[in-house]
């Protein structure tokens, strides 16, 4: 039984990692007043570029790097639409998501011929941390994970420090509350927002990479499965604070892990039925969590609002 529970917690950390990375990135951007609902697409692009690069170079680290670059590129493009062209953030995000989807489907088939199913022969293996991983029980859970889990966990204090303890973070929070006042106080609003977007691109790109480089060894356009939107929900539930975001990511990651875990427990003819039904669990949990916890959420005052200098 203990082994099962350990595996449940371990899976939870794995399933939480992409959610945590994406929502930490989104948290930073939303602190600066931009609502980026396009991270679903950005994650997909991150998964795509990561997969392609890892496939051709046979080097998973280059895969991660490519995921980051893909993530940054698409998020910056979103930034161009909403900052430079001052377009509606929600519709721009819809466009980004559909475009990312189209790009991935089309270019995947341009690169790999119709009907072929390319795969990466080796996934990222867990990296046990010396000594710590030998601690009984906890060591197995916490210190024998893939690099993505470690990056995700480290991203929490990094984001916290960045938002609350740096000069940049102060400018970011001011921009999110009221960009025109921040501008008058000498803050370079566009620059602050672009930096936030680049950081988000890095995190979201890595989040995309987790799918193709550590969880599955194939690429599919359905691979992100609304994780980006879950990440946005997590930011709301976590009240725009990295620590709260951590809790939210764990909750949703747990829901997903639970659905996988129960699926493996049940044997017999109904197992297929149950595990298919359980696949909706993470989404149901998200909706219910939003119903309960989304009510009095008050984000940065200018979240989603357009800003022009005069």
């Amino acid at each position: 039984m203990i082994e099962l529970i350990i595996s449940l917690i371990s899976i939870t950390l794995q399933t939480s990692a992409p959610l945590l990375l994406a929502s930490i990135g989104e948290c930073i951007v939303e602190r600066g007043g931009i609502l980026n609902l396009g991270i679903e697409g950005a994650m997909l692009i991150g998964a795509f570029t990561g997969f392609i690069s890892a496939y051709f170079t046979k080097n998973l680290l280059i895969g991660i790097l490519a995921s980051i670059i893909g993530g940054i590129a698409i998020v910056l493009f979103f930034g161009f639409l909403v900052i430079e062209m001052n377009l509606d953030q929600v519709i721009s995000a819809l466009a980004i998501n559909l475009l990312s989807y189209g790009i991935c489907i089309y270019f995947f088939r341009i690169i790999f011929s119709q009907g072929s199913l390319p795969y990466i022969s080796e996934l990222l293996s867990p990296i046990p941390i010396p000594i710590l991983s030998e601690i009984p029980i906890i060591g197995m859970i916490l210190f024998n994970q893939t690099i993505f889990v470690y990056i995700a966990l480290i991203s929490i204090p990094i984001a916290y420090y960045l938002i609350f303890k740096t000069r940049y973070g102060l400018s970011l929070r001011a921009t999110g509350e009221n960009p025109s006042i921040a501008y008058r106080l000498g803050v370079n609003v566009s620059k602050v927002r672009y930096i936030a977007l680049i950081i988000e691109g890095i995190f979201v790109g890595i989040a995309g990479g987790t799918f193709c480089l550590s969880m599955f060894n194939v690429f599919d356009v359905r691979i992100t499965a609304a994780k980006g939107f879950m990440a946005v929900s997590i930011v709301i539930l976590g009240r725009w604070n990295p620590i709260g975001v951590f809790g939210g990511a764990l909750l949703f990651g747990f829901a997903e892990a639970l659905s996988l875990w129960i699926g493996t427990l049940i044997i017999g003819p109904i197992s297929a039925s149950i595990s298919q039904l359980l696949s909706i669990l993470p989404y149901v949990v998200t909706i219910i969590a939003l119903l309960i916890g989304g009510r009095k959420a008050k984000g940065p005052a200018s979240l989603g609002a357009p800003f022009s200098r005069e």
């Binding site: 000069r167 400018s171 509350e177 501008y183 000498g186 803050v187």
Partner: protein, 516 residues
Amino acid sequence: MSSQIPSFFSNDIVLHVEGIRKVYPNGVIANDNVTLSVLKGEIHAILGENGAGKTTLVNIIAGCIKPDAGEIYVNGKKVKIDNPRTAIKLGIGVVHQHFILIPTLTVIENIALSLNNSGFRLNLSKVKERIIQLSNLLNLKIDFNTKVEELPVGLKQKVEILRVLCQNANILILDEPTSVLTPIEVEEFFRILRNLKEKGCSIILITHKVKEALSISDRITIMRKGRIIKTLTPKETNEEELSLLIIGEKQNSESISFTNENNNTKKILLSVNNLNVRGDRGELSVKNVSFSLYSGEILGIAGIAGNGQKELVEALTGLRKPESGTIIIMDENVVNKKPKFLIKKGMAYIPEDRIGRGVVLTMSLAENAILKRFEESPFSNKTIMNKNSIMNYAHELIKKFGIIAPNPNIEVSNLSGGNIQRLIVARELSYNAKILIAENPTAGLDVRATDFTHRIFLDLKSKGVGILLISADLDELLKLSDRILVMYNGKIMKEFNRNEYDIYKIAKLMLGIEVN
């Protein structure tokens, strides 16, 4: 017109603007060939009415607005100030009329935000040291870790000045700084200004108050309709001359005759009893307010913005639920009724924020004209709209209210501010309103549009409409109102009948100073 500076002073000119021109997209010429010099260590007042172009000039110097033409020199060097950062770097510190503080951040954070020191880490303790040093100069003793939203207005202003000083500014621009201060605070404030002046700062004081300009400044520049009229020293002029220069030649507006009928013979249209309303942040913004509005009268509410007028209006128009109390319109308690019900009852409303709350910019003039009546005949039969009658009606309004527009299909965003106001007035008055609530109805309008609005109000009054006029413009209130209620800190301080009007008493009450 060039500024009158003796040439031997020129080494001491810290700020010089030359030929500044700014025309807004709606055609208003806010600044027209403005040329002005500010000397080292002087307090230079810029005096003018609301809408004279003072704030535009401030915003141009602060780098918030790009001028269409003109040059700026700081310490003799030509500079291009295309964003606020540049202005801060050049030592120009601006205290805007609307405070530029982020309410959810602390005092220290707000100040740290605008400082140009380098470094990645946010070193608040270093900022705090500097704040404490300079705060003695301002006699400011507060906990600097307080969130700005928790500070009273007067302290917010001090925080603003503190911020500017922390930026090492040597040119201070203060836009209407005394409008939020009590007379006692004003005295102290002036002492601070003189102090700063002695330390070598140059101060530009934007004001519309002649007395203040005379008492504190070394030189006074008068602005009117976007132009510089004259620069004088206080010694060579007096209150009367300045007032004339500010206003310009008299407008030939008809004198307004008042029929001071006894209120007893009139009907009570609106009666508010012990009304309490909470503001956005849960604070009690309207405290135990009671008054009655009679038919055929204009009841003025005087007060400095932010003393509960907004919340009162929102409660009256059905947009905000009162905490307690009653609002009775023609014998019916309308508390908790929706705006739609109140509109049907005959309540018209001219909001202060005309663009944000008065019209839909992206819709046509015709559509805006029927915004409150589209479910009435003949514009619709409740479900289906009747385009012909809407167009006919819009044509009618255009003619009757002198709205300048080629046709009723034009998008409202293409109309000027004055025409938008006419459209709103036209719409609000078109459904035989019995009560009109008007919030700063002439703010930002030119003389013609203002005059037009006033005439309409008096005409309505003669027809028996009750008008509740909420205005920050005391002159407007004195000119139009039959009675004036003074509101301060959410409370009605006192009621004045027309024969008791005393501008100084009212002004003091607006600042919360009790008078006998």
